[in-house]
Structures are given as C-alpha cells and as structure tokens.
C-alpha cells in the first residue's frame, strides 16, 4: 500500500467515524431502547387551540416521565410531530411519513376523521390507535377492532352520562318522564353519531326529545334557538364543536333560554368554548372525563419539573391545567401505563405495536393506582379488557363560573349494560360487512413480536 493510498484510507476511516458521531439524534436514539409516539398534531388552523392544549399536555407528560424517571423502566419516550391542521388528507400523509419510525407505541391523532381513515392501516400494521373520548362508538368492541381504543368515553357512554346527570338534577331517572330535552348537534358525522342513542334513552325513560341540527361551522344559530324557545324544553344538550359552542351560548342568551339548563358534551367543555361567549356562558355546565385545574399532584410536578425549568410545551403558562391540557396529560398517563403494563409481561425494552396493544388491553387503573400516579380526582379510573376498549370511564360535570370550571357532580357511571348490546350489534354488522372474524380472548393473548 502506497503512502498516498494509506493516507486516503485513513482519511476515509476518519470520515466514516466523524459521520457516525454526527448522525442525527433521532437515528442514534432509534438504536437505543426507546418507545416512539408519532404525533399528528394541529397547532395552526381552525382547531389549533384544542390541538396545542392536548398535544402540549401529552408531550408534557412524556417529558415528565423522561426527566423524572429516565423513561419507562429505562426506556426513553420519544416523539415526532407532523402538522395536520386537523385535515384528514394531511393526517393520512403524516401517518405514511411517520410510520417507518422504529418502536412506535401508538397513534393519538385526536381527530375523528383522521382516526377513521387510519383504522384499516393501523390494523394491518398492528399498532394501537388511541381515540380518547371520541371515535366510532362500536370500536369499543375489541372483538372486531383489536387495535382501536376509544379510551374513557365513547359517544354512547357520553349520551348516557348526560342523561343520568340530568336525571340526578331532577331527582332520579323516573323523574325524566314527561320532561322535554332538545339535542342541538353539529351537522357532521360526529354530531349525528348519537341520534339513535338519544332516541333509545327517550323511549326508555319517557322524556320528549327533539334533535336539531346546526349546519357546519355553526356561526349562525338564530333559527335553531328560536325553534328551541318555541319548544320550551327543560334542558338543551349541546353537542357542538369549535365556533358552534360559544355561538350557541350567546344565541341562547339572546333568545332568553337559561344557560344553566344547557348541558355540553365532551367536545363542548373547554375554556375555548366558553371564553368567547363572555357573560352568556356563566352557569353553563358540561360533561368531562378529566377535571380541569392545576391543583393535582401530577400537574404540579409537570409545572415544577418542566415549566419552572423552561421546558414546558405550552407557550402560554396560563393554559396549564386547562381542559385540553389536562386531557393531554391523562392521555399521556394512559399511554405510559399501557407500556409499563406491557413491559411487565414482555420485558423492559422497546416493545412492538402489538405488545403495546396487549398492554392497552390490560390497562386497569383503579382509583388507588390513579392516586399513586398523582391523578386523584383528575380522572376516576379505567378498566380496559380485550373486548372492552373503552374501559368504563366515569364522567363528571363542570360548571363555568365566568373565569374557571368548577366540578359540580360526583363521578357518574354511564349505563354500560344498556349500551353494550347496541354497540355489539353495530360492530358485528361492521365485521360482517368487512369479513372480519370475531376475536376471542385466546386470540387477544397471542402477540406478534
């Protein structure tokens, strides 16, 4: 070997070594034990307020686990974000772009449209899709949807929870007989999802029901509220989204309907829904699976560990403990605990998507465990099984006092026994249409590595 060749070889070797050292961080991280969350977030566009809150809370919790605990049993949590602006095409494109990352734990798009578009894809890829508090109701049935998890609350449970709350205000379910309830719903598949279940509950409990559609986006509701005023209902259930919610509250005030007889659903329950309505929102009550406020140990730890060190994800610290931020934190807890549970079975290492699915299917956090996680009263409990992917979440109700939400009810259980046969009927029809064989408990125990 000539001197010239040796020099060239040495230069090449040095170059390779330098290149290896300067590999992008994410490539080197992929080699270590890590669990990855690809996030189809939306931080700009019409729904950015909800997106920044939810994904901010989710990332804050993942960051807390990394900073405080060094990850989940030493496995670091990582994430990458792709902006979707809440648009389905962008969400799917983001999925295709991010899915090749190693060690994906679960997808959390917080979008009904994007979630629907991903079901076949994630099922083929065997990676869980988390649709906390939303998504299609029949995906609760794990026999048909092995990888979809509408954690804590599906739309039917929400409906049942709201009716149970109204009953509790009236003095019991039997007191609903003869009452009149109007459901004002967003003119979209999301808004229409609960039409049959309200009809069923009206029949069962004997209340009169009128369901009124508000065309998207809902920035004009004069005619709907005049119709409501003429109908003189005892309660109005607001099943809104985005701008429809403050406009509903303002128009209700304008047409003389009492705000404390309006009950909001889970996507009409945030600060963004009430602040623009100003005085008209004072006294408005809405359902939630997670209380708001920063007075919970886990939120305090996030503030101490992250925000006080300048590492928090929210730009505006005033939003810490807001409804969407706390929903993101709870979502973080559920994802992390599913990984922890799966690690206990499969080992403290990077898990496959199917192993994490197994973890979600054993995600049972009783109130004592929730308290140990620093989330007592933030949310109640969850009990996911292989065939019940919602996990029987409890709900509570918060009332807006003009500056903050205040919890005004105990934790309320929806009527799961009543809802389950309806859910199974729908999921079995879906399975028949798609040629899906119903999974058994034994099938669910089988895991792909």
């Amino acid at each position: 070997m000539t001197l010239h060749t040796r020099l060239k070889t040495a230069a090449l070797a040095a170059g390779i070594a330098l290149a290896a050292l300067s590999l992008p961080a994410f490539t080197r991280q992929a080699l270590a034990d890590e669990q990855h969350f690809p996030l189809q977030s939306y931080r700009v566009g019409p729904y950015a307020a909800g997106g920044t809150g939810f994904f901010g809370g989710f990332i804050d919790y993942l960051n807390l686990i990394n900073t405080r605990d060094g990850g989940v049993n030493g496995v670091k949590l990582t994430w990458s974000e792709a902006e979707t602006q809440y648009e389905v095409e962008r969400g799917v494109e983001a999925y295709e772009r991010l899915k090749s990352h190693q060690g994906i734990a679960a997808w959390n798009p917080l979008s009904v449209g994007i979630a629907y578009a991903m079901i076949d894809r994630i099922t083929a890829d065997k990676v869980p899709l988390i649709t906390i508090n939303h998504g299609r109701t029949d995906s609760t049935d794990g026999r048909v949807f092995p990888y979809v998890f509408p954690l804590l609350l599906n739309p039917y449970s929400e409906t049942s929870g709201i009716v149970n709350y109204i009953a509790s205000k009236e003095g019991g379910l039997e007191k609903l007989k003869g009452k009149k309830i109007v459901v004002l719903y967003h003119g979209s598949p999301y808004g229409k999802e609960t039409i049959p279940i309200y009809e069923l509950l009206a029949q069962k409990y004997g209340f009169t029901l009128q369901q009124i559609e508000v065309p998207h986006p809902g920035n004009e509701q004069q005619s709907q509220w005049l119709t409501i005023r003429r109908a003189k209902p005892d309660y109005v259930v607001l099943r809104g989204w985005g701008v429809m919610n403050p406009v509903a509250l303002k128009t209700a005030a304008k047409t003389g309907f009492p705000v404390d007889h309006i009950i909001g659903n889970v996507w009409s329950n945030s600060e963004e829904d009430v602040i623009p309505a100003g005085e008209a929102a004072k006294g408005y009550t809405a359902i939630t699976t997670q209380a708001s406020g920063a007075d919970y140990p886990v939120v305090k730890e996030i503030v101490k560990t992250l925000y006080d060190q300048g590492k928090g994800n929210l730009e505006d610290k005033k939003r810490i403990g807001s409804v969407y931020h706390n929903l993101g934190i709870v979502n973080g807890i559920l994802n992390v605990e599913a990984i922890r549970i799966a690690q206990a079975k499969f080992g403290k290492r990077t898990l496959t998507g199917d192993e994490v699915r197994w973890g979600f299917e054993h995600l049972q956090l009783d109130p004592a465990r929730v308290e140990a996680l620093g989330a007592k009263d933030l949310f109640h409990s969850i009990n996911v099984t292989w065939d019940n992917h919602e996990g029987n979440g409890y709900v509570t109700f918060q009332q807006w006092d003009g500056t903050k939400w205040k919890v005004v009810s105990d934790w309320i259980a929806p009527d799961w026994a009543l809802l389950r046969p309806i859910i199974e009927k729908s999921s079995e029809a879906y399975a028949a249409e798609k040629g899906i064989k119903l999974r058994t408990a034994a099938d669910a125990e089988g895991v792909t590595n």
């Binding site: 700009v44 019409p46 307020a49 065309p215 005030a253 304008k254």
Partner: protein
C-alpha cells in the same frame, strides 16, 4: 292560517334580517375591491380575522380601545397598500382568474401570519353592548344585532358620502366606470387602488369587531366569507346597495327556510339554502339585483 303563529314568524323574520345585515358588512368589503379593480378579493375573510385578532391582542396588552382601533386601522392600511404594491400591481392586466387565485393565496398567507403573530388562542371580545333580548310586542329583538345594523347603516352612509363628495371618492367612481378613461384623464390609479384597499381594511376591521364579539375572535372568523358570497351573487358584486339588500334577503330567507322547511328535510338547511336562493337569482339576473349589466359591442 288561523293557527299560524304570526308573532313567531315575525321574530324569525326580524332575526333573519338582522343576521343579514351582518352578512352585508362582510360583503361590502368585497364590493369595494371588485368595483375598482374587478378582483373578487377572497382574502377579505382573512383580513377580517387579522383585524379582529390584532385589535383584541392589543387591547389584551393594555392599549385603550380607541388607540387599539387606530393602530389596527393603520396596520390594515399598511397591509392593503402592501397587497396592492406587491401582488396586484404586478398582476395588472392578467386574467381575472389569476387575480382571484392570487387573493386566494393571500388569504392563506394572512391567516398564517395572523396566527404566527398573535398565537392560536381563542379570545373573547366585549364591545360593551349587551347581547340580551328586549321585548317588542311579544317579539324578542337582540340589542347587539340592532347595534350592528346601526353600525352598518352608518358605514354605508359614510362610504356613500365619501364616494360622492371626496376627491378620492370621485376618482374611485371614475375608475369603477372606466379604468382606461380614468387613466387617460390623469387619475393616479395605484393611489386610488391603495385607498380602496385601505377602505376595505376599515370595513374588515368594523366587521371583524362585530363578528368577533358574536363568535369570539378565532380562526373561524375567516369563514364568514362563506356567508357573504350568496349575498354578493344576489345583490351584485359591484353595488354597496346590492350588498345591503342582498344581505337582508339572504338572512331572512335562510332563517325562514330553516324554521319552516327544515323539519321537512331533516333540518340543517340554512347553510346551503342561501346558495339556492343566490343561484335562483343568478339564473334570472346574472348581474345580481343591483349589479352593473355588462354590454359589449362586437
């Protein structure tokens, strides 16, 4: 008909007319630009959002109401002039579809810039006018809607006086009638266009504040353009009077249709019913109720 509830009908009609005025407020901004430059400015909704977001952000940072209004107006004038200089002037004499696409692109840029500059949070906007109803012979009328109607009337009166009696206004009318003739007699077209964009900015600011007080200041504000389009089709793209009358007709007809026809077809029809009315007018009067009929010699 004996059972017909006339009081309720009147309430729906009045509510619809007052809502229509709100649509007119947005439509006037379109008319101003279209009249002078023949451009359907799709960015009007984005300008409205930008104006409202800027105003409310300044107020939240402690600026007094009047000062925030003036600063926002100055910003709108600057944006109008910048659009005229950097986008529309280089595209002079290009086909209308090119100009329309340019304003479509502008709307995305302005929306993005607004969120980049002021953040994505939703804001409440209190103009100090209570939005509670008062009873007029059994009919509930909204105080806020009446205030909005009065504001719209005042704005139309001011704009009419401006275009009738001021030098720039007369120039504006000359350009609207025949831009080439206006150029030939020495009118400074760029200055007039810039002035019109500034006026459209003022309209966007006023409409943005009223709509913002109604909906909250949030991204969805830019969607109110969808309410103005049928108004323009019906009233004519180049008539301020048409924008007012069109707004009233669209507002009243969509509300009455929602209440009295909605149940027959499952409800939720007012969003598209306005376009049905507009299309029906388009078939009968393509230039709209008050639009200028174009006659070309061949």
């Amino acid at each position: 008909m004996a059972d017909f509830d006339w009081s309720f009908f009147t309430e729906v009609l009045v509510g619809g007319l007052l809502s229509g005025v709100m649509y007119s407020l947005v439509a006037i901004g379109f008319v101003l630009i279209y009249k002078t430059s023949g451009v359907l400015n799709f960015a009007q909704g984005a300008l409205l959002l930008f104006a409202a977001l800027t105003f409310v952000s300044l107020v939240e940072r402690g600026l007094p109401f009047a000062l925030a209004f003036l600063v926002t107006f100055a910003a709108m004038v600057l944006i109008g002039v910048a659009i005229e200089r950097t986008v529309l002037r280089p595209l002079t004499n290009k086909p209308p579809i090119t100009l329309f696409m340019a304003t479509l692109g502008l709307s995305y840029i302005i929306e993005g810039a607004a969120q980049l500059l002021w953040g994505t949070q939703v804001h409440g906007l209190d103009l100090g006018i209570e939005d509670l109803p008062f009873d007029v012979a059994g009919v509930f009328v909204s105080q806020f809607d009446l205030f909005a109607a009065a504001t719209a009337a005042l704005m139309v009166a001011l704009l009419s006086a401006f275009f009738r009696y001021s030098r720039i206004g007369l120039g504006f009318r000359a350009v609207a009638d025949d831009p080439f003739a206006a150029l030939a007699i020495g009118l400074r077209l760029p200055f007039i266009w810039a002035s019109v964009w500034a006026a459209a900015g003022l309209v966007a600011l006023v409409a943005g504040l009223l709509w913002g007080a109604r909906l909250g200041v949030q991204f969805s504000l830019s969607l109110v353009v969808l309410k103005a389009l049928p108004v323009l089709v019906l009233g004519g793209f180049d008539s301020i009077l048409g924008a007012i009358v069109g707004g009233l007709l669209i507002g009243a007809s969509e509300k009455l249709a929602e209440v009295y026809l909605g149940d027959l077809v499952g409800g939720g029809i007012e969003g598209w019913f306005a376009y049905v009315v507009a299309l029906a007018f388009l078939l009968i009067r393509p230039a709209g109720l008050f639009g200028q009929k174009l006659v070309e010699r061949v």
